[in-house]
């Protein structure tokens, strides 16, 4: 017991190309499936699928479900479920619609399009969402009612609370700044998008490099330099590729003319302006990056996964799993409210059926993305890819002209098939 030297770290021979890159095979599989899907639809739609316009729309349609799917990963990893996210989205959307159209004008005398309206609305919505989520979490964690029941109840309660708040009416128009969170009405423009893309690439490369440095500092094996460079290049190309696509989707000339007229100017002849990155997509990326850091690099995230892997072990290690439950449901509520901002701003009004069936889409996205319902396993990027694959399937089939009922049959089958493939993959890997 006196020897304190570290063990020698053996260098395993990694012959496989993918092994050397140390890429997650499941991630590669999903990206592969997404690419095949896109190319397939592109062929069947005579090249209408892979256009800047459609890819731009695909990304803004995915955001709302993808944001909630990020939170659902944590919920499912902790062996819970949330069936109320669509209803919670409706309630927070109703709260925000009423705040900006009724509450603020009548109580504070601040009308629509006042500079403070959107900010107050946003804060109110996010606080209400977080509180409702925390309340769910308290019932699950402290009253020990199963999450399935709590959120099944919440599913009925909150959708109809939303109905009463608005008397069942569609609420609109909404604040013009608020609408910027929806997608087409709020983009960064080509120059800023380019800068954001470059900054994101730089941050990604820095993250790779600092990870490598920290491993090397302790003498752990690191990837060969070429693998690291390849990975950095792939990430850079993906980010800049997306920026290039959304930058080359030009704002329609009519719309551009109106924008100039609103400023009291006339549009120069033949001007072409690209949209750039939608603000909603930027929000999704920020949520995804933040939650990935939370999952991998914070105690909170570590405890979520530990609790999912073995709740008793977590408890015996002194982790307050009840409080953890409250926190993850509060986070889920916050993300529902954030999705409500994006969804209602995209539709430019609050309607009764907003977020209907979103709970199923969100759970499906998380599960397709590799989150195991048995708990302990799941990734944020997987859930987002899952949401993207589902949205691509749905939009693609709509473009091809598949009947709506048959679309649902396909989506349902894909969900089951994806989970089956995941199970087979895990068995082969020998893990869990």
């Amino acid at each position: 017991m006196t020897e304190t030297s570290s063990q020698p770290v053996p260098q395993k021979a990694k012959t496989n190309l993918f092994q050397q890159l140390e890429l997650d095979m499941r991630l590669l599989g999903m990206i592969g499936a997404f690419i095949i899907l896109c190319i397939g639809f592109n062929i069947f739609t005579d090249g209408r699928f892979l256009t800047p316009r459609n890819l731009f729309n695909l990304s803004i349609q995915t955001v709302s479900v993808a944001i909630m799917a990020c939170g659902m990963v944590f919920i499912i990893v902790m062996r819970h479920i949330d069936l109320s996210v669509g209803a919670l989205l409706a309630t927070t959307s109703a709260v925000m619609a009423m705040t900006q159209t009724e509450l603020l004008p009548n109580v504070l005398g601040i009308g629509l399009n006042h500079p403070a309206t959107w900010a107050i609305t946003l804060v109110v919505g996010l606080v209400v969402g977080t509180l409702i989520g925390a309340f769910h979490g308290w019932m699950v964690g402290y009253l020990t009612i199963p999450a399935f029941i709590v959120t099944l109840g919440g599913f009925l309660v909150w959708r109809n609370v939303a109905w009463y708040m608005t008397d069942g009416q569609t609420i609109g128009p909404l604040d013009s700044t608020f609408l910027m969170f929806g997608g087409t009405n709020g983009t960064l423009g080509t120059t800023v998008s380019l800068l954001v893309g470059l900054a994101a690439t730089a941050i990604a490369i820095w993250a790779l490099w600092s990870g490598r440095r920290s491993k090397a500092a302790h003498g752990f094996p690191v990837k060969p330099m070429w693998a690291e460079t390849t990975l950095a290049a792939i990430i850079g190309i993906a980010i800049m590729g997306y920026v290039f696509i959304v930058n080359s989707y030009a704002i329609p000339t009519r719309r551009l003319e109106r924008m100039f007229e609103a400023q009291g100017e006339t549009m120069p002849e033949g001007l072409v302006v690209g949209y750039g990155i939608p603000i909603s997509v930027l929000i999704l990326i920020l949520v995804a990056v933040t939650l990935t850091v939370v999952a991998r690099k914070t105690r909170f995230g570590r405890y979520i996964f530990a609790t999912g892997g073995n709740p008793d072990a977590a408890e015996l290690s002194g982790i307050n799993t009840r409080m953890m439950t409250v926190k993850i449901f509060a986070l889920m509520g916050f993300l529902c409210a954030l999705s409500a901002v994006v969804a209602s701003a995209r539709l430019a009004n609050h309607s009764n059926d907003i977020g209907t069936l979103d709970e199923l889409r969100v759970i499906a996205a998380a599960v397709i993305g590799g989150t195991a319902l048995s708990g302990g396993i799941g990734t944020i990027y997987g859930a987002i890819l899952g949401a993207l694959i589902m949205q691509a399937l749905q939009s693609g089939m709509a473009m091809v002209g598949v009947d709506a009922p048959f679309q649902n049959i396909v989506v349902g089958s894909v969900l089951v098939l994806a989970v089956y493939i995941d199970i087979v993959y895990r068995k082969r890997l020998g893990a869990k």
């Binding site: 304190t4 570290s6 491993k215 105690r299 570590r302 530990a306 892997g309 002194g318």
Partner: protein
């Protein structure tokens, strides 16, 4: 990592006039009207191994879970170094340098060895983020001492063998300066070689002045490893005996019949 206390032999710190390391006095705990532990008192001195014996359901695991903070007692008190302490949860137990190796190992299967080793006590960077590289380095150091063959540092512990998992569980108890170690059937899932490894480890820890409660079914293991044994039956303490003074059969009759060997008084 270890307290530098003088090496103690079988008699350990007992009889030197100092208070016991742990004294559990008159502990009772009931579940739904059933007295799982009924006014039981046990103690433990530094550098001593005390075996807790009894049938399934005799109450030995329940008693020890009071000490590790997993259960709260209904009645009784716990003294450490002669001072009364409150242990209401596993965090309190850890704060009193009590570490437990559970029968079920209590590992999160989906996490790797170092994450399990530091679970609940992660090393963090100045920014408050968990420092995986530093934890893995510490994990490699302690595993080099406990189980030099251990190599799977980046796999989830579900991919490890029973013995490897046991070394992770033991490493967790040993790493954080335990003074009081509770082992709940530490060799239940192990092969002969690994069982010997645990036996050697117990001798090492003893020599460092750590007090160990060893819960076991196996009378032979207790005879070999322990200095004293406390036997429980139906929630009550049958008695505590010095191992050198008793035979296997004496212990067995205590476990089965609940009778103390006639000449022994403690």
């Amino acid at each position: 990592m270890m307290q530098a206390q003088e090496t103690q032999k079988r008699t350990s710190g007992r009889g030197s006039g100092q208070p016991p390391l742990v004294e559990m006095r008159d502990i009772s705990i009931s579940f739904g009207g059933i007295k799982a532990v009924d006014h039981v008192s046990v103690d433990l001195y530094p550098g001593e191994v005390v075996g807790l014996l009894g049938h399934n359901g005799a109450g030995k695991s329940t008693l020890i879970k009071v000490l590790s903070g997993a259960y709260q007692m209904d009645h009784g008190e716990i003294l450490i170094d002669g001072n009364k302490v409150e242990i209401n949860n596993p965090r309190d137990a850890r704060a009193n340098n009590i570490e437990t190796i559970y029968q079920t190992l209590a590992l999160a299967d989906n996490l790797d060895a170092s994450s399990n080793l530091f679970l609940g006590r992660e090393m963090v960077t100045p920014f408050g983020l968990v420092n995986d590289a530093a934890m893995e380095a510490e994990c490699r150091k302690i595993m080099a001492q406990l189980n030099p063959n251990f190599q799977k540092f980046n796999d989830p512990v579900s991919a490890l063998s029973g013995g490897q998992r046991q070394s992770v569980a033991i490493a967790r108890a040993v790493y954080f300066n335990a003074r009081i170690l509770i082992m709940d059937e530490p060799t239940a899932a192990l092969g002969p070689h690994e069982t010997q490894m645990v036996a050697d480890l117990i001798q090492q820890l003893k020599a460092q002045g750590i007090g160990i409660f060893l819960i076991d079914h196996d009378v032979h293991a207790v005879m070999e490893l322990c200095d004293r044994a406390s036997v429980m039956k139906n929630g009550q303490l049958v008695g505590t005996v010095d191992i050198p003074d008793v035979t296997d059969d004496d212990l067995l009759s205590m476990i089965i019949l609940g009778k103390k060997p006639g000449e022994k008084t403690e």
